[in-house]
Symmetry: C2
Subunit: 132 residues, 2 copies
């Protein structure tokens, strides 16, 4: 989004995704470069909104439409990582089938099932480990 | 960004902006609806990147290009809020002139110089205060 005149129009929009990383796991990841057991990452998905207040271009986050959680646990999950989606007002969720999330994460994620390549903060940590 | 086929093309892109709110101020804001003295909000700005890894549409955050900080302090600043920009590798910054940031914030921000209208989490808090 911007307060200046918009540079272009967009015919159809995607969604915003905020990824949160639990602080305990982060504190472990920075010095070690590994995700500890019980690591959780949360993906909050928001509708894009453009016309509101003084915004003149781009988009900001409107209504939240999804909350997805990745959890690491060798004791709890056969594949070490499991993926959940929480609906508004629901406190429980069943893990997605292996083919739904895990298969893509294990194949394409830059570090231990986590899409570090898309996250600037973790990308910096990983790069510092690769080139000390 | 999305893993699916892209819905549209974009001729020219804006930037991503992540806004962070310091935890102490957040804990005060939720029950009271007011920003305490020493509140800090940080705006981290990132270049958009699209073609990388398995991403097929939309954009994710590339290089960080700016870090701006808003600070509340009636004792320190004549207008209660001051705005700073930190360059990479620099630990100090002079506050922007009143006309540069403050003037727009005081006129258009939804709550006490903070653009709560653009932040889903704070928007929810403010709405709950307005309609208890």
């Amino acid at each position: 989004m911007t307060y200046e005149e918009p540079p272009a129009t967009v015919d159809e929009l995607g969604k915003f995704g905020n990824v949160y990383f639990d602080p305990t796991a982060y504190v472990h990841y920075v010095p070690t470069g590994t995700f500890p057991e019980k690591t959780m990452l949360a993906l909050a998905v928001f509708e894009p909104v453009s016309e509101a207040s003084i915004n003149k271009g781009g988009h900001f986050e409107g209504e939240q439409i999804a909350l997805e959680i990745a959890v690491k646990g060798h004791d709890q999950f056969r594949e070490a990582w499991a993926y959940f989606e929480f609906q508004p007002g629901h406190k429980a969720s069943q893990a997605f089938a292996k083919e739904k999330c895990y298969a893509c994460h294990v194949q394409h994620a830059a570090d231990d099932n986590v899409f570090v390549q898309f996250y600037p903060i973790l990308r910096g940590v990983k790069a510092s480990k690769a080139h000390p």
